[in-house]
Symmetry: C2
Subunit: 307 residues, 2 copies
């Protein structure tokens, strides 16, 4: 079991979907990553920043899942990052109702000393400067995974390219892969992105699954067809958390093992969307996860006679 350091946001979310709405609930990329990874018994530490308005009960929830919060900086007299959004009926589009960066503008990641030798560093979607600062504090992790989004391509592309050149794997959605590469075909886009640095490129297609590219090889992980998507918030981060958690558990960074890691990520994302916020990630049991993995296996299982 390797150590896993996850750098990202710990935040308040307020969410509206066609099924209802929430007050300010526990949210943030690092939160979802940590909770998803905790189901693999990963030794995971979050590196984040919050204000002193953040409820102790939210932090206790994470600690009770075995997540180390020594790297979560609490800034006195300041407010935590807050995001609010409303999802439309199709759940694929959303309106941002509020983004209050608050403490996030002064985020300077501090990796706890006893995690600086961690094998795996997961960089959530953040300002590339913060991502670089986290990389610099680590003592040569074996595997670095990064997430990012179009905002940083538009606004801080130079620093973003530096981060991309230093990581082993990038997770990115299909539209962002097209923007980053200038290629429409995802196969071509993945090649361009591999040439920027990462040996592994994971392209997330939401309800359409995910693709993993490595050299000339490609793997496709289906998403589980669901009757209802209740709240998509955090699905991508739960995917990343399941993925990195599996790598931490297995300590194997081969293409074959990354395939399995992506299947774990897929399973964790499929739970995440079943309820508001982190609710389902907190309640899901080990046997439910095993059952979901079997469902994914049987979803794509076929026998064909080859001649």
């Amino acid at each position: 079991m390797s150590q896993l350091v996850a750098v990202g946001t710990v935040a308040f979310d307020a969410i509206e979907t066609p099924f209802g709405k929430t007050d300010k609930i526990l949210g943030g990329a690092a939160t979802y990553i940590g909770l998803a990874a905790s189901h693999l018994n990963a030794d995971v530490a979050l590196v984040a920043i919050i204000g002193d308005d953040f409820p102790q009960s939210f932090l206790d929830t994470m600690v009770s899942r075995g997540i180390n919060l020594d790297g979560v900086d609490v800034i006195a007299g300041e407010k935590s990052f807050y995001w609010s959004g409303r999802y439309h009926h199709d759940m694929n589009s959303r309106d941002t109702l509020a983004t209050e960066l608050n403490v996030l503008t002064q985020f300077n990641p501090k990796v706890p000393n006893n995690y600086k030798n961690a094998d795996i560093l997961l960089l959530g979607n953040l300002n590339p400067e913060a991502q670089l600062a986290a990389i610099d504090q680590m003592n040569g992790p074996k595997f670095i995974v990064m997430d990012t989004m179009n905002y940083w391509m538009d606004n801080n592309n130079e620093e973003l390219q530096k981060v991309i050149s230093k990581v082993d794997a990038i997770t990115i959605n299909d539209e962002e892969a097209r923007q980053l590469s200038g290629e429409y075909s995802l196969v071509k886009a993945a090649k361009v992105i591999q040439n920027l640095g990462p040996e592994f490129v994971v392209i997330k297609k939401g309800e359409h699954g995910a693709l993993l590219f490595h050299n000339e090889q490609v793997f496709f992980a289906p998403a589980l067809p669901l009757e209802d998507v209740f709240d998509p918030t955090g699905a991508g981060d739960s995917f990343a958390g399941g993925f990195a958690g599996y790598l931490a558990k297995t300590e194997d960074y081969s293409f074959d093992n990354l395939k399995s890691a992506i299947i774990y990520g897929t399973a964790m994302a499929s739970f995440c969307v079943e309820a508001f916020g982190t609710e389902r990630l907190l309640s899901v049991s080990k046997s439910e996860i095993q059952k979901r993995l079997r469902m994914i296996q049987s979803l794509i299982q076929f026998d064909i006679e080859l001649e």
Copy 2:
């Protein structure tokens, strides 16, 4: 090896893509279905209508692939159905430049006598009245597959519902499944559609693969990630032809065998889009098909330790 009757259009297509444009080439749903099915050595007969402007060389091409054309009605002094379209850069959207129905307005399917006992009837996307007429001429086929589109839902829904109630399987794209069922979730949509009649519902998601629903079971077939899609025309019909051809070859209408049939359909569609029109379906070799099937297998192959 069962007989397979495919009812649909045999037509002229003129296609523009970002890669080039064609004159009037061989097209039509039944054409693609027949050519795809011919690679499984299916005993396939087309039921269609053309004018006397249709080149003998186009017909010879099909006969050379072992396709029976006794059911293709040639109307003297009339012109064949003609469609022209232009694809955009993303290949997912297209403009129709011309639709000249010509002989298609008088299409009254005539199933050849020596195919009326065929086990499999494949109804291409057509006016539901023509689809019903074909069903009525058959002596109780073992398996009926239909394709359709939103146009018939909007303009001839009553007859369309009659056809749907009589078939074993329907192939339909995701947007059309949503329209037909009134459900956004494809899982829910498939349940509603199963209740209209078909035991099997195939939802086609283009570059995102296809879903097969049967009772409470679901199977997902991935699409092969391609460097370039040269011309998507006929991909859905090649999918249906590969699917029905495999059923004709294997004479097994179980859920498990339908899964394999869909993988064959996926392979045939992946060849179809590699060149203009029917070009690639005409040139593809048996060993290329076998290789493609192996690629699809390895695309989704993973091992995961279950506890």
